[in-house]
Structure formats: structure tokens, C-alpha cells
Symmetry: D2
Subunit: 441 residues, 4 copies
């Protein structure tokens, strides 16, 4: 497949709806890395290696040397926000990065001013925005966004664009009639259908323009048949949904370990405390429900209670998020896991994760942007399930259950990269080291 990947020439524009804590931490980080004053830790595209060939060959190139990715120096940023602060001011307000660091890249960040946002207070009651577009129909709104995209591309002399949603969690929605076909959706845009959320309008505008779209929140956005249909038409990669950070990240690490060892689980209680804007939005029950559904689903798939009823059939899973201002962006999670082993004897695991929300999310934005652009150049359109590694609630082909086990997700991601580059896939069999068998291990 290798020969068919287009090279990463020219500038890549990364467009971001929602320039809050996550986005500003991402942008400031990339600028700091470009200046050589910080490291892009947590980004697979920048720091991870990938094994190629047999274990004994000892070949572990950096991913960025293995597949053709956009160089950080070729990236330009743009975005929309309901507040008009430039990225420097927004980053200072977010209280994630130290002022001493931000001041070293103040010029670059101050120059980034958000475009006016497509906003609907009904979908985020705890937010009040002033930097918003006026419009007659949602179709008109979509056209304004398309114009923003084209203007940005021209003004910044970009050869390619990607869009990554870093905005807030919208209120809970289930798929309805208007989401089922492209035709119905476009009619809904004209009719101002109430079930079309702002994030869907961004998604529509991007995919219509052939711009890959990745969704960092649990909103439906691209995860509706109408947008999937459009993505096929325009040959555009899409991926969703909800950046996998903090507690859910730990959950998709630990749960596969328990399942691997056939340890039973009776209960899993997860609570979070955080004090940033995200915490404030999620303090509204309607918005929390969107997040809760996303967070609850992961254990179901990993434990497969339907085929392991004696181990996981009785599992009681509860997830809570608490707004707690003293912690700011320093999210803290606490998990209590009630497990049982041999002959049913009970044991407990407690995990306390003192994490930082935006620090964990920022490198995901970078990787999704670069890998979505790679997918586009490799002619891989539609749903990119191989990027489910980064997402709490991966979008898949209809009828296909998502994989939540982070290790299967990683294997899928790595073998996809090997496949793109025409290398042997890894199975970890390795009997040939012992028995002179001829196998691709």
C-alpha cells in the first residue's frame, strides 16, 4: 500500500472549534516544541517507536520516521470560540500552563484570534457566549463556516486542512429521523431542525469541504448516518468520539488486565473531581448524561458479560463527576474496584489518579490531526476505527461492536501503520524462535 500514500508537502491547517483549556494547551505546546523549549510527551506521532520485523532484528524506528507525517513546522492553527479572547489570554485564563512558559511564546499565541462561533445556548446552558454568529437558518450557518474554512485555507496558504472538535460537551441526544440520511439532514439545516446540534454543523461544513473531522467530545457530531454518507461522497476521513483521558484511560488499561486473568468484577465505582470549565458544563445533568453514557459503555465491551456471565454478569458500574473548584484543571479520579478470584474470594483495587485534564488531551489532538491527515493522503476515507485508541466511544462500521481494550486498540493502530507501509503484521506468536518454523510472527 506504501506507494499510494501522498507525501506531506506544504502547510497543514488545523482548525479547532472550541479554543478553551485543551485547545490552547495543545497550540501553546506545539509552539513551545517548535522553539525547542518543551517536549511533546504523550504524543505517539512525535515520541513513540514501532517495532518492525522480528524481535531479534531489534528494529524500532520512531513512528514519525516510519510513516510520512506532517512536520510540526508546517502546521498552522485556526479556530472558533464563543469568547473572543486570543489564544494567549485564553491560555492564561485556563490556568493549565505556567505563565513563565506562555510568555516565551506570547507573540505567536496573541496573534491567534478566534473566529465567531456557531453557538446555541440550548445545548450548553452553563455557557454564555458573545463571540457568536448571527444567522437565519442552520444552512446559512453551515455556509458561513464553509466560508471561514475557505478563507482560512487561502489566507494561510495551506495545502491541506483537518478539523478537531475541542468544544464543550453538548446536552444528551439520541439519533432521530433528521440524522439518518444526508437529504433529511440538509433539509433539516434549511428548516432549523432542533435536533441538529452546533457540532453537527461544524462536522457538515468540514466533511462537505473534504476536511477530515475528529470529534473530541461525546456529542454525536459525525457519528450519524447522514455525515457518514457525506464522508463517502467526499472521500473524507472521520473519527469519533470523546478524547480518552484520565479515569476512562485508566479503566481501559486496568479492565483488560482483569479480564485477561479471568478475575471476576462485582462492582466498579468511579468518581472524579475537577474544577475547570469542562467541570462546570458537566455540572448540568443534561450535559453530564452525554458524558456518562460515553463513560459507562467501556466496561460492557471489555468484559463481555454475555459470554462471561459468571465473571461479569452482576457487575454494578457507577460513574460520578463532581465540580470542585479548588482543583482547577488538575482533575483527580478515584476508583474502587470490587473483584473476586479463585473460589469467589473477594479482593479490592483502589486507584487514585492525580492527573491534568488538558495535559492528557493535548497530545491526542496532535496525533488525531496528523493521523487523520495521513489517512486522507492514504485514501482511507470514512470511519477511521484504527484511531479508536484515542477515543472513549469509538465510532465503527454499522453493526460492529467497538473495541475498548486499549491494547487491542494499540495493536490495531500499529498494525494499520505497518499495513500502510507494506510491513508484516505482528501476532506475537514467536514459535519460530524455538522451532525453526517459517511464520510471520
Amino acid at each position: 500500500m506504501k506507494e499510494s500514500v501522498q507525501p506531506a508537502e506544504g502547510k497543514l491547517g488545523i482548525l479547532i472549534p472550541g479554543l478553551g483549556a485543551v485547545a490552547t494547551t495543545f497550540i501553546a505546546g506545539v509552539e513551545a516544541v517548535k522553539k525547542g523549549i518543551a517536549q511533546p510527551i504523550g504524543s505517539l506521532t512525535q515520541t513513540s517507536n514501532i517495532r518492525v520485523g522480528k524481535r531479534t532484528e531489534n528494529k524500532y524506528p520512531k513512528i514519525k520516521d516510519f510513516v510520512p507525517l506532517t512536520d510540526l513546522n508546517d502546521i498552522v492553527f485556526g479556530g472558533w470560540d464563543v469568547y473572543s479572547d486570543n489564544v494567549y489570554d485564553a491560555a492564561i485564563n485556563a490556568k493549565v500552563l505556567e505563565p513563565a512558559l506562555l510568555n516565551q511564546i506570547k507573540d505567536e499565541l496573541s496573534a491567534l484570534v478566534p473566529m465567531t462561533a456557531a453557538f446555541d445556548k440550548r445545548f450548553a446552558k452553563n455557557l454564555d457566549g458573545t463571540n457568536v454568529k448571527t444567522f437565519t437558518t442552520k444552512y446559512d450557518l453551515a455556509e458561513q463556516l464553509i466560508a471561514d474554512i475557505r478563507n482560512f485555507k487561502a489566507a494561510n496558504n495551506c495545502s491541506r486542512l483537518v478539523m478537531v472538535w475541542c468544544g464543550s460537551t453538548e446536552i444528551y441526544q439520541e439519533e432521530t429521523e433528521v440524522h439518518t440520511t444526508l437529504a433529511a439532514f440538509e433539509e433539516g439545516l434549511h428548516n432549523n431542525h432542533p435536533d441538529i446540534a452546533p457540532s453537527m454543523i461544524y462536522a457538515y461544513a468540514a466533511v462537505k469541504e473534504g476536511v477530515p473531522f475528529a470529534n473530541g467530545a461525546p456529542n454525536l457530531s459525525v457519528d450519524i448516518p447522514a455525515i457518514v454518507e457525506l464522508a463517502k461522497l467526499t472521500e473524507t476521513p472521520i473519527a469519533g468520539k470523546d478524547f480518552k483521558t484520565g479515569q476512562t484511560l485508566m479503566k481501559t488499561i486496568v479492565a483488560p488486565g482483569l479480564s485477561a486473568r479471568a478475575l471476576g468484577v462485582r462492582g466498579w465505582f468511579s468518581t472524579n473531581i475537577l474544577g475547570n470549565r469542562d467541570g462546570w458544563v458537566l455540572d448540568d445533568p443534561d450535559n453530564f448524561k452525554t458524558k456518562e453514557v460515553s463513560k459507562l459503555s467501556v466496561l460492557e465491551e471489555i468484559f463481555q458479560p454475555e459470554i462471561n456471565p459468571e465473571l461479569y454478569g452482576e457487575l454494578y458500574h457507577k460513574v460520578r463527576i463532581n465540580y470542585y473548584p479548588p482543583h482547577g484543571d488538575n482533575k483527580e479520579s478515584w476508583d474502587n474496584i470490587d473483584i473476586f478470584g479463585w473460589l469467589g474470594y473477594p479482593m479490592q483495587i483502589k486507584i487514585n489518579f492525580l492527573c491534568r485534564d488538558s495535559i492528557l488531551a493535548a497530545p491526542i489532538v496532535l496525533d488525531l490531526a496528523l493521523f487523520m491527515d495521513l489517512a486522507k493522503r492514504a485514501n482511507m476515507s470514512g470511519v477511521q476505527e484504527w484511531l479508536s485508541f484515542y477515543l472513549k466511544s469509538p465510532q465503527t462500521a454499522p453493526g460492529l461492536k467497538p473495541e475498548h481494550d486499549i491494547f487491542k486498540q494499540l495493536m490495531k493502530l500499529q498494525n494499520t501503520l505497518r499495513h500502510i507501509m507494506g510491513e508484516d503484521l505482528i501476532t506475537h506468536l514467536g514459535l519460530d524462535y524455538y522451532q525453526d518454523l517459517v511464520e510471520s510472527m
Copy 2:
């Protein structure tokens, strides 16, 4: 390969050096399961499923229905111990299982009386044994063990045997001249060479008789060239070393997760409190060193600091075990992990595992016994690296670094089972669900 596996006919004898907390919990558990009064939770051979074919086929047979394993009703037990208590009394003393459960299988357990042990106080200063063999040379001791093995097999009408070491941790040893060839080793047996530990004599006796040997302690035992040489001669499977339970189990679950996400690690502090006989033996610094070396090695391989110096080059790893009688067999571990992410920002993870040592180890004994017997019937002799899933310090081919990542180990184990049964290996690529490609995913 499927056709070449011999069926599991007749009785399988499981021989155990060391009838302490782990072995008695294992034996009592199997007897309880046979009576239908408890479940063999934590055992892959008894409760886990394995995916066969494509995800959409939804085929997940139980492992025991997929590969031909010995039925629990065909197992008989035997063993050696430095104390003469029968298994019922030893289980009561171990205080792991409730008397109410043990009393329901008292007849079966009381009938199991340990054979006299091969013991050398120099290797376990904190133990005092009375039920021990007298001998002139270590070769004589080996011959007594071989006689024990043959007598047991005949008396119990077994068609096959396996041996699983459940004895204490011996003092720290490194490989010396006497361990390098079979000839040197046998001469050492005759000369009473001080570097030949009791566990090596058990290993020698078993492998000489073609009995598969798995090593549950961090002792060298079968992990010396002399025994590997003998295993090839007698076509015997061997595997070691050190059952992966408790804190190290959690470590090989969590560390791959951090590595997957390219999160840096500055420090990892692990401490344990436990109050059983194992804790008492490990309170001696010489015995602790053997355990410490086994426990420390896992992070090195998972993080690969040599190829990820900016993430793991400075990692400070410390492991402590504390004898704490109030907890008995209820081992408790506490880990503090100092990680760093995007731009080097620090975060912390704390894990508190309230586990039960023998409850976690018992199903490993069962799985190793059944899989070693399967390997023997499948003509897979020598080192069984595919069983490294169960072991803290996996034995591998010379020059091959062990895999410690429990998810790669699981993939290796499952793909080995698929390979044995002639099924397609799994790579988790899955592009065919999206692109009509013809690939074994």
C-alpha cells in the same frame, strides 16, 4: 498442527514441591470445584473464552472446549513438604480458605500426606523442616526424588505427570560453571556442589523423567543451561519463573498502558505488606534479593529506556516487601507512580491493591499444569515462552528478551492456542470491515 496433538486420556498426576498456602489453596479449590461447591475463577483454562475467526462471526468458545485439556476429574495430586502436616491441616494453618469450606472436603484433603522433602536450610534460613530426606550426595537425593515420582505414578495409575514448584523462594544465586552443561551439573550432583539448590534437584528429577516442570518461585531451578539441555534430550516442556500475582501483575497491566500512551515515568515506588510464611521467608535479605531481582526487571523491558530515553531514561524504581503479621495471606500493595505528560507536566498515580496472595496464585498453578501437559501432548518441548503470561520473570531462548507486557503475553498465548488448533491468528487490523480487502485480520 491440530492433528498432531495427543488426546488427554487417563489420569494426570500433578506433583508439587512445597505444600504451603498456595498449593493447599490450589488443591482444595480443585476438589471444591469437582464437588460443585465453588467456581474456578481466575483460571483461563476453566473460565475464559477465546475469539475464533472474524469479529462479526461472534465465535468465542471456552478455551477448554477449544483445545483438548485434561478434565478436572482426571487429576490426582501429590507433593513434598518440609512439614509433615497433611493438606487439610496445612490448609487450616495457612488461614486462606474458610474452615466451613475446607470441612466439606476434609476427607480428600486429609488423605494427602506430603512425601519427605529435599531440603537445605542454607537456602531458606527462616524455615525449619523436620519432614526431610537424609542423603549422602545430591545425586542420591535426585535418585530418591525419581523413585518418588515413579512410585507415585504407579500407585495412582497415572498416564501423565507434571510438576509445579510451589515452594519458598531460595536465597539469591547467579548462574555459575556447574550450571552451564548437563555434564557439569551431574558431576556437581555427585560432588555435592554448593551451588546446586534443592529446587534444581527437583527440576532435574522431573525433566530426567520427561515430566514437564513449571517454576512458581524466582529461583533459577530450570532456568539454567544444564536443565535446558536435558529438556531437549528428554523432549520435556519447561517454564519459569515466579508466579505473576499481586503487585507485579498490576505493574505489567499498568506499565504497558503508560507506554502505549507515550507518557513518561520518573519514578515508581512499590511497597507490599504481607504476613504469611512467604512474607516471613522474604524478611531475610538474602531471600528478598532473589525476589527483588525478579520484581525489578519487568519495567525495564516494558518501557525500553534504551530506545525511549526521554520518557524512561531517568526512571527510579524501588520495590519493598514488609513482613506485617496482622494481614496474614491478605497481601496489600501500594504503588506510587510519578509520570509526566505534554511539555513535561507531572502527574501521579496511586494504586492500592487489597489482594490475597494464594487466591491469585492458585489458578495459575492449575493453568500451568494443564497447559504444560498440553504442550507435552503437542510435542512442544523445551522452554514454553507462550506461558510467560503467568510469570514474573519469563524464561526465554538464549539472547531473546522476555516480553513482560501482559497484553502481548496474552496475545502470544492465544495465538499459540489458535496455531495449535490450525486457526487463523488475530492481528486486530480489521480494515476489511471497511474496505473489502481480503486479509486475515
Copy 3:
């Protein structure tokens, strides 16, 4: 004062509204202690010592040898419940004590059958009772309870009675007009005033009969002027409210320590998981509010932010309770405390308490019953503030702030006992050991 205390002669009847987990654990425990098969750990009246005289005198009598308390063998039990299970069945259902223990006192417990309860579903929506009194007016209900009390006393040949509320938490109420005077309250009983809760009717019946009443739930009950007025008239001791167990117990231990050292506190997040009937009742927001108000008040008084604004003026305090069935009565709490010290530098304390709700509450029931009876015999009527040691939300004289610091509460309790017995009070001054001063230290 010593001479004026009446001796504890004859039988003491302990009457309990609410024979659930706490009450049955209490009753079963006392019966087990009487049989010599268990110890009354956690009860100051049974196991604690009290220092008398100077430190150098080394005089530490048991409290029960220092003040005249009722002997456990002179206690008889009675109670009301909305379910008709006898105490043995209720204890089995509560899953707090092991059946093996309960079976040794089955006869005593089975004989205890609850009287029909005064119940109003409006005050506890998650409960459904069948063993309830029918009535026309609330005054009629009060008269039925008074008849129950008199009948119990006669039938059991008691010389004295006390009542301890062990029922559920009622929905949140604030004091209204009907609670302000005895006259208004009695009129309200006749008129079926909706603000008169069942627990107030029990309190009225008890105090009217001169029976001391202690309130283990956060309901208002005796903490209204009408009942205080009645208590003075009938010279009856009253005390409330809400047994101090689990997380709040830890809070009133740790907070005084931080305050002692002048360490600042920015945030205190407390969460609980529990799966018993209490947890189920508190899953209703109206009932939780009653508990929340009780739990939140403690930090305010201990830290005194009004006189320490720079240390405690910004404190953010949040308390959560989560119904989590896998834990049953084994309540688990987790606290995160954000503190700051010298020059404002931040630090954190995390406390994870794996407790048992009813095990912590049961000895409080015993101590309150015995001390309330002592108070009655010592002619100490009205509010017993010296028992605030046992209570989350101590009732005090009007205008007097309650002490929540458990160490001041203990000092108050112990000095009250010394005062009753005519001994010197302790001030911990102790300069006389160093300077030949003549002072009662």
C-alpha cells in the same frame, strides 16, 4: 455532686424506634457480650478508662467502675419497626453480623418482635412498611405510643426506660411555627399538622413519660423548642442528633488536627459508597438533604472561618453519598483534603476509610442509653451537651454554638463525669511537675 446520683437498681428498658441494621447489631452484640462470646469494643462505658488525679498518681479506672452505670445483665430491649421481622430475622437480612454468631443467640433475638410502628411514607419515600399503626389524629398516634411504653415497662418489670432513635433519616425539614411551643405542638398533634414528623411523635411520647430520648438520625425530633419545653417540665434528659460514625467521625478527628497546627484548608471533598437500607433511603434527594446539612456543618464550627479568614475563608466543602450495592453495610469513604502551609504552599491528604456502618454505630447506642440513664439519675435534665461526642449535629442551649472537635467533646464528657463524681477537673496544665506550684493541673 456525687452523693446525689441515684443508684442503678432494677432493670433498664431500652426502647428503639427502627429495628434495622444498627439496632439489631446493637442488640445482638449486647446479647453476645452477656454470653461472653464477644467483646463490646468501641463502647466507652464498657471498655474505656478515665484518668483521675495527677499524671504521676497513675490512676486510670474503667469508666464503668468510676460512675454508677446499669449492668448489661439488667438491660431489656423493645422496639418498633415498619417490618414485622423479629430481631433474629432482621439481623440476618441486614448482613452485618455473621450467621455463625447470630445462631448462638438465636433464641434471645427471635423472641424480640417489633411493635407496630408510627409511620408516614411522606417522610421516607423509599420505604414500604406493613407493620404500622392505624390512627385518626397524630395525637391518637402519640397516645398509642405512650400505651406501648407503659405496657412494655410493666410487662418487663423495668424500673427505668430510655429511648434511642435508630430509624431512617426523614426528609429535610426546618423548624416552623408548630414546633415553637408545647402548646402549638400539641394543637398540631390534634390537627394532624403536616410538619410533625413521626420521629417527633416518638420523642413527644417518650419525654411526656419522662423517658430520656437520644436521636441517632439527623431528623429534628427532639431538637425543637416544643420538646425542649416539655423536657424541662418532665425533668427528662434529651440529646441529638445523628450518630457520628464513618466519614464524619474521621472529619472531626482530622480537622481539629489541622486547625491545631494552623494549617489552611482550601477544599475538602468527601464521598461515600454504601449499599445498605440507609444508603437506599439516602438515594432520595429529599432525605439526602437532611443528612447533607448535618454533615456539612461540622467543618464550619471547627475551623471558625470568621476569625481565621486567611486560613479557612475560602474553604470549599462538598459531601456526596452514593448508593453502591456491592458493598452492603461495609461503607467506604474517601476524602481529599487540599491544605496549605508556610507561605501558602499546597499539600494534600487522602483518607480512605473501609468501615462498617452498623459496627461503628452499635456501641454509640449502648453508651447513649447508659449515659442518658445516668443523667436522669443525676438529675441532669434537658439538653445533654456533654454527649455531643457521639453526635454529628449536637443539640445545644439556644444561642450556643455546638462543639464539633471530638477532642473538646471528649474533654467535656470526661470532665462532666469527673464533676458528677466530685473529682478535680483536668486542664493538662501540669506546670506543678516542674515548678512546685500548687495548682490543680
Copy 4:
């Protein structure tokens, strides 16, 4: 007693042996507070209030307004260290305070250069000092220190001095013959007796000069009869030993709470990780033993197992300190407490304290300095037991058991202040609020 306290006129010199992390954090903090750029949180003398009179009087003056203490602006600093770094450089190296803060007081700190230290490598093997005094006899060394003290006083125009030991923990020592009388001790100084540690020579020099001496390390220092004898002769206050910070602070908060509630304790496991110079010194077993003895003693006195054998007779207490460089001065402690309650049912408490060693110690240095000076001006000579509030291992009159319960210690401290100022002592009885009794509560 009030009238006899001398006013705090003129300058107070605070002399410190050991200008490491604690001392530099203390000094830098006082300078920052003087400039108004930081708050002296954690210091009772600067921020705490004290209740005076009845609860209803609502009188809570600041301690510094209640007793006559030296104003921070009248303090000057001096000290000795084995390294010649000035206080600014030492503070930067200690990595406790942020450079941004230190740079604002760089001039003041840079001017403070340590005097050459009295050092003996035998007492602190892990230290290597170059800034040390040469001497013939230990008496000669004492005379050099006395000369330092006099020169400092004159050069800085001080009216009064105090000395607070902030040096390292010395190796473990028990009292021997040479420590028993002043005569033997002075002979030992002349003879270079090996049992006279450097900290004793500092103590001798200070007390000989009438300078109050407080000991922040677990070394014997002033806690020997010879120095007590000298203190009486020269009418000098002395206090020791070992600043109560971190884990032991938490222990003397939580243990009194468990004891208050008559909860039994079966085991208490305490472990620490820290990476500062103190941690490095304590990595030597001989130095750790001194600390361990100091840390272990606290539970014994609080729980009084001799009078509560059924609750505390079987308590297994273990304390570990681990050198862990990734944490630096950010000491982290973890406690597991195995308790039992009603009928012996077990429960567990886990405490994880993310503290900062020097941040907790610095305000103790300030309070001890100011209170020792107050004691001197109030003619309170010899052992100051009322300051045991600050110390892990309080020094007391011979034959008198120390109080470790921090709440009794606080009561002792506060009642001592009230006593000095001629105010009523507090007993927390408070019956007069209810019964019109005339009592000093």
C-alpha cells in the same frame, strides 16, 4: 503571673546549627513575610487565635496579641553549616521554595553566610562537610561555639538569643555515664569522650550562655541529665526533641481519635518516601534507628496498652522510610491502620499524605524560637514540656511519661499561655450554660 513577664524589647537573635532545607525555608519565609509577599501559615504565634473566657463571650484574640512575643521585624538570623553556601544558594539547592520567590529576597539571604560547623563524620556517615572547625578537644570546640555566640550577639546588637537545632539526625545513641552529670560531661569534653555528639556540644555552649535551646532532630542533645543540670544552673529553657511533621503529625492526630472512641488497633504500618538530604542521611541504618525509636514511641503512650490490653495489647507497629529521589522535599507518607470495633469486627483506614517536609517544619522553628524566648522572659527555666505540641519525642521531667496526643498537647500549650497571662484555664465542662452553676469552665 502576668506582671512578671519581661517585655520583648530589642533584637532577638535566632541561631541555627544546620542551614539546610528546613532552616533556609524558615529564614526565607520570615523575610518574605516581613516584606508582605507571603503569609506565615502554620505558625500559631503568627496566625492562631486563643479562646479567652466563656464560650458566650466570643473572645478569640490572636496569640501574638495575647502574650508578649518578639515582633518578626526584631529578629536576626545566624547559623552554622558543614557546607559554606550562603542561605540563598542553600535555599536554591534545597528546591523547596520557588526561585521566583527567593529572588525577591536574594539580598537578605545572600548576606547570611554560615559559620564553620562543629562536625564529626562518625555521627553522619552520608554527609561530607568542608566548612568545619578544627579543634584539639571537644572542650575547645565548645569554647569556639561560645565565642561564635558572643560575637554574633555583639555584632548584631541583640538583646536576647535562642538556638534551634535544624541539623541532621545523628546516629543512634543511648545515655551513658558521661551524660549523667555536668561534672562528668565537662570532663568528657576535655577527654574527647566518643559518646559526646556534636549536637550536645552546641547544646552545652548555648545553655552555658543562658541561651534557650530547642532540638528539632531526634538526637539526645539536651535530653541528658548533664544539660538539664546546667539549664537549672543558668536558668535556661530547654526543649526537645524532633520536629513533629508529616506522618507522625498525622499519627498523633488520628490515634487519639481512635482511642477516644475505644476502637481497637491490631496493626499500624507506616511508610514514607522522600528524596531530600534528610532522606539521604536516613538511608544509613544507624541514623534511621535514631529516627525509628522517636517515631515508634508515640503510639505506645497514646494507646496505653498496659491499661487497655484488649484494645491495644496486640498492636503491631512498623515504620519505614525510603529514600526516593523523584519526590525531593515533597515527602509522601502512606499509613495502613487495621482497626476493630463492636464484637471485634475488622475495619481499615488508609491515609496518604502528600506533604512537604520543610514547609511543615519551618513554622515550628519560628514558634519554638518565639515561645522559648517567652519562657525565658517569664522565668520558666528547665524543660518546657508545654512545647511538646511541636515535638515527636517530648522531653519531660524524670519519671513523667510524655503526652503524645496532640490535642492534650494543645490544651497544655493554651492553658499555659492562659496561666502566664493570669486568665482562667479552660476545662470544656460547660455545665453552667445549662444549670446556673458557678464554675470556671
